[in-house]
């Protein structure tokens, strides 16, 4: 399941991190201008498992994923949603093949996620904690 965002297709640079194994913590980030101060694990899982398409602020969420190959992705889903990669895949397949929802927009790297989140007021993404900077705001973190 691949989502193509036509205007951004060309912009998607392959900045894959060589290894995310060194980062043991995941931070869920939103736009710095977002009214959200923090989110619960349930709220975050709701959005990333397609159960909810709105942020706690009421805005329609624009979630972003890291590629399947990224270690941070597996860490995020295991720690935050408590589901294995296969379970997440099955859950999204149910939503995608029923036309109910589109999976989070997949971006190539944490740098891409930060760029997207910084540019979009309703965006939500996850990155390794060490990559957090002032361009994004942390609303949840998992050790």
């Amino acid at each position: 399941m691949k989502t193509h965002h036509i205007p951004r297709l060309a912009a998607a640079a392959a900045l894959c991190l060589a290894s995310a194994g060194a980062f043991a913590q995941v931070a869920v980030v939103v736009n710095p201008k977002s009214p959200l101060a923090s989110m619960t694990a349930d709220q975050v899982s709701g959005i990333f498992l397609g159960k909810s398409n709105t942020l706690p602020s009421g805005a329609t969420a624009a979630p972003t994923d890291l590629p399947d190959s990224a270690a941070t992705r597996e860490l995020f889903y295991t720690k935050v949603t408590g589901k294995s990669t296969a379970q997440v895949k099955a859950a999204w397949s149910r939503l995608v093949f029923s036309g109910k929802a589109t999976p989070p927009k997949e971006l190539a790297s944490s740098a891409e996620v930060k760029k997207f989140v910084a540019a979009n007021p309703d965006a939500i993404g996850y990155i390794e904690k060490s990559a957090v900077d002032s361009s994004v705001k942390v609303v949840f973190s998992a050790d």
Binding site: D42, T60, A86, K89, S93, R94, F97, T102
Partner: protein
């Protein structure tokens, strides 16, 4: 696929609602599209040569001679999004059909207007929400079993309608509530043309945050089956004192309904589901009750599971008043009795299986089904005389994938 004026009006209404309710920026042109695919390569073999084990809507399948027909399929889906409000979905599936070909079928082709974050209206060809897993009926990867239990899912052999629906979804605490109403018609292709008109239905789902999902659904409409042999029999009966038998057999604009309740559970390592369904018609198509109970336990990438299911014939709907033992009426009576017997699809199934999540988007499954027909054909095809009294063992292996 034609849209009737009512549907056109519904869609226009939805568009109007969407335009007024949505933010101006939501209606901006921000196109994106995605392609997704799914498929199953499945092999089935049984221990009988008296009948074929088949999938829903098939007329030939597996016997002692194994077959890829019952479960194998490939499907593709395109989702195109114009902006946050308007999107379109088309899904086509190729699987072995009643006519003995793999001709692809457009399962879905609808446009959707997400009028508000809670309310969506769709028009076009839409999946019929008869069952717990109707939404992903063909996507075996999303299910635990090799195939959805036939004792429940084999009762109706069409899976979409042309029409419109409205879906309202809201969250109450950790619970997601979804309500759906729909209206439309279904026409299945040859060789058995079934028309289901004025179908309307309601589908309610509650998804709790503890992993439990509950579903209730009801659909009703009028069905017509194009069959020259059936029409011939009804025509002959109308010339006799047994015209009422013909009226009972006939499937011309006869009322039909399908009602279902289901519950599923997926929490930590436990997975399970139970479904109870009732098919009712007022024609020779029997009225049935189908239920199934599934339980499984995840052990890492392996999930062993067990299923118990049963399909019961509640009524043949036909009271054959043609007396037996009258030579002049013997042929007529045999015709009527034969038709009634063909609808004795009752059977009971015990299954065990194993799902292995072999790769991130590939599941490998093996399943053993022990099927006991109730003296009739059950859900088997190409049934030979003498079949129906002993149980059949069905062995299946499959590889399911999504991409």
């Amino acid at each position: 696929m034609k849209l009737n004026p009512l549907l056109a009006a519904a869609l226009a209404g939805a568009c109007g609602l969407a335009s007024s309710a949505a933010h101006a920026d939501a209606l901006s042109w921000d196109p994106s599209w995605s392609f997704s695919g799914f498929g199953t390569l499945g092999y089935v073999q049984t221990n009988t040569s008296q009948a074929d084990f088949v999938g829903v809507g098939q007329s030939a399948g597996a016997s002692k001679d194994g077959s890829f027909n019952p479960d194998s399929k490939i499907g593709g889906q395109v989702n195109a999004k114009a902006n946050n409000v308007f999107s379109a979905t088309v899904q086509a599936v190729s699987k072995y059909n009643d006519a003995g070909t793999w001709k692809p079928v457009v399962e879905w082709a609808f446009v959707k207007a997400q009028a508000t974050p809670e309310l969506a209206v769709r028009a076009g060809r839409i999946g019929l929400p008869f069952y717990m897993v109707s939404d992903y009926l063909n996507v075996n990867y999303t299910n635990l079993w090799v195939r959805p239990p036939l004792d429940v899912y084999g009762q109706v052999n069409f899976s979409h309608f042309d029409g419109a629906d409205a879906i309202y979804q809201t969250s109450l605490g950790g619970t997601t509530l979804t309500g759906q109403v729909f209206y439309g018609e279904t026409n299945t292709p040859a060789p058995v043309r079934v028309h289901s008109h004025q179908q309307m239905g309601l589908n309610l789902t509650a998804e709790f945050d503890n992993g439990i999902t509950v579903r209730l659904g009801r659909a009703q409409g009028k069905i017509t089956v194009d069959s020259t042999s059936l029409d011939g029999l009804v025509g002959i009966l109308s010339q006799t004192p047994f015209a009422s038998v013909g009226d009972e057999l006939s499937v011309t604009k006869k009322s039909a309904s399908f009602t279902g309740a289901g519950i599923s559970y997926d929490h930590e390592n436990f997975v399970g589901s139970a479904e109870f369904t009732k098919r009712k018609t007022s024609s020779y198509i029997s009225s049935t009750t189908g239920w199934s109970v599934t339980g499984g336990y995840r052990l890492g990438k392996f999930t062993p599971f067990a299923v118990v299911s049963k399909l019961k014939v509640d009524s043949s709907n036909v009271d054959d008043t043609i007396p037996a033992g009258v030579p002049q009426l013997a042929a007529l009576r045999a015709g009527v009795e034969g038709l009634i017997a063909s609808q004795h699809i009752a059977q009971k199934t015990d299954s065990i299986g194993l799902r292995w999540d072999a790769y991130k988007n590939v599941a490998v499954k093996a399943q053993y089904d022990h099927i006991k027909p109730d003296g009739g054909p059950g859900l088997f095809a190409k049934v030979q005389p003498g079949f129906g009294t002993s149980a059949v063992s069905v062995y299946s292996v499959s590889v399911d994938f999504v991409f």
